[in-house]
């Protein structure tokens, strides 16, 4: 793994989140997002809440949103599946936006979680969540900003799937 590439990507993602107005971030790591989570933790403008399970993060972000925060959750797609009830009966039912940055394990070329990769986009679609696959560093700002606007205006969760290439990891 090229640390410099991963760090540059992490810096770009954190910068993109802040340009999109995000100021409250709940996270549960995947190894591929290590640098992103480190960068979130280090950034003084972002409130970082590390989680034990992703579903509670959806609750924490919902509470923070009601109080005026712009929230994001960073997790793996396994964590997205863990969160589906909260995303349905809290986020969708109460119309609460949340920007989800989901590591796309089992994406093309990613070994080990092919089953998870196969169900990720169909589940996002079944739940009615708009989702965008982010592959290039130059698309980070526009995609995160656009997804946040979409979440805010539709008052729904919106997903951005992070791939190895945009994260600068092998």
């Amino acid at each position: 793994m090229d640390d410099q590439e991963a760090k540059a990507s992490a810096a770009a993602i954190v910068s993109g989140l802040k340009k999109a107005g995000i100021n409250f971030v709940a996270t549960l790591p995947d190894e591929k997002m290590l640098e992103v989570i480190r960068a979130v933790e280090k950034d003084a403008e972002l409130k970082h809440v590390p989680l034990c399970r992703e579903e509670e993060g959806v609750g924490i972000c919902a509470g923070a949103y009601l109080a005026g925060k712009k929230t994001a959750i960073i997790m793996q797609n396994a964590g997205f599946l863990n969160s589906c009830n909260a995303l349905t009966t809290t986020s969708l039912q109460l119309q609460i936006p949340i920007l989800m940055l989901i590591y796309y394990a089992g994406d093309i070329g990613d070994r080990g979680f092919t089953t998870l990769g196969a169900v990720t986009e169909p589940v996002l679609q079944a739940m009615g969540f708009r989702h965008y696959v982010l592959r290039k560093r130059e698309d980070i700002d526009e995609t995160l900003r656009g997804a946040q606007i979409l979440a805010d205006d539709s008052k729904k969760p919106v997903a951005v799937l992070l791939t190895k290439s945009v994260l600068g990891v092998k």
Binding site: K47, V49, E56, G59, A62, G63, A64, L66, T89
Partner: protein, 199 residues
């Protein structure tokens, strides 16, 4: 003693605290403390996490989580997260009736489990059982004054009074009223109209 007996005792001391409720307890809380600062949640377990999110975002404002044993046990993994953040403005109240009351009354595992020990093990510095409504009230006002994250747990009998006023509140309406109440009492804009405001 039922949950309602305890809620009745706490309500006069709850001031302008934000209260996150769930299950049957919501209707009882509205009856004893009607306010747009009350929020009813739907997801079993998330009452404490939603309350924690509010408490972290508004550190100067008191927040109450009105939890039940079914919800508490479902979201055990939320306890270490809350304890790590340690919001001193959050009072976590657990009404343990040992059944899934809103789902028909089958037993939870709480008769065999000590919620206070669980909370302490998760990192809550203050967690205790209160044995009567009076003791609960005393612990509540103490936690309020100390401004330290506290779990106050009580064992209650299942059931609720028959003459409670119905809760005629659409949940989206509840959300918006809650947010507008926060805007008014926190003196800040939360719901910012985006595109439409430019027309």
């Amino acid at each position: 003693m039922q949950r309602y007996d305890y809620l009745k005792m706490i309500a006069p001391d709850a001031g302008d605290a934000l209260a996150v409720c769930t299950g049957w307890g919501a209707r009882e809380w509205w009856a004893v403390r009607p306010s747009d600062g009350n929020l009813k949640t739907r997801t079993l377990g998330l009452v404490s996490s939603i309350a924690a999110g509010l408490a972290i975002a508004l550190p100067h404002r008191k927040v109450l989580a009105l939890d039940g044993d079914g919800a508490f046990l479902m979201n055990l993994c939320g306890l270490p997260t809350i304890a790590m953040q340690n919001p001193g403005n959050l009072i976590h109240l657990l009404f343990d009736n040992e059944v899934y009351e809103a789902s028909g009354g089958t037993a939870t595992a709480s008769r065999n489990t000590d919620a206070v020990t669980l909370a302490k093990g998760a990192g809550y510095k203050h967690a205790l059982w209160a044995r009567s409504p009076e003791e609960c009230r005393a612990e509540f006002t103490h936690a309020w004054k100390q401004s330290e994250l506290t779990l106050i747990a009580v064992k209650v009998e299942p059931g609720q009074p028959k003459d409670l006023p119905p809760l005629y509140l659409d949940e989206i309406e509840n959300k918006y009223r809650f947010m507008r109440y926060l805007e008014a009492t926190e003196h800040k804009g939360i719901l910012k109209p985006g595109f439409d405001s430019k027309l």
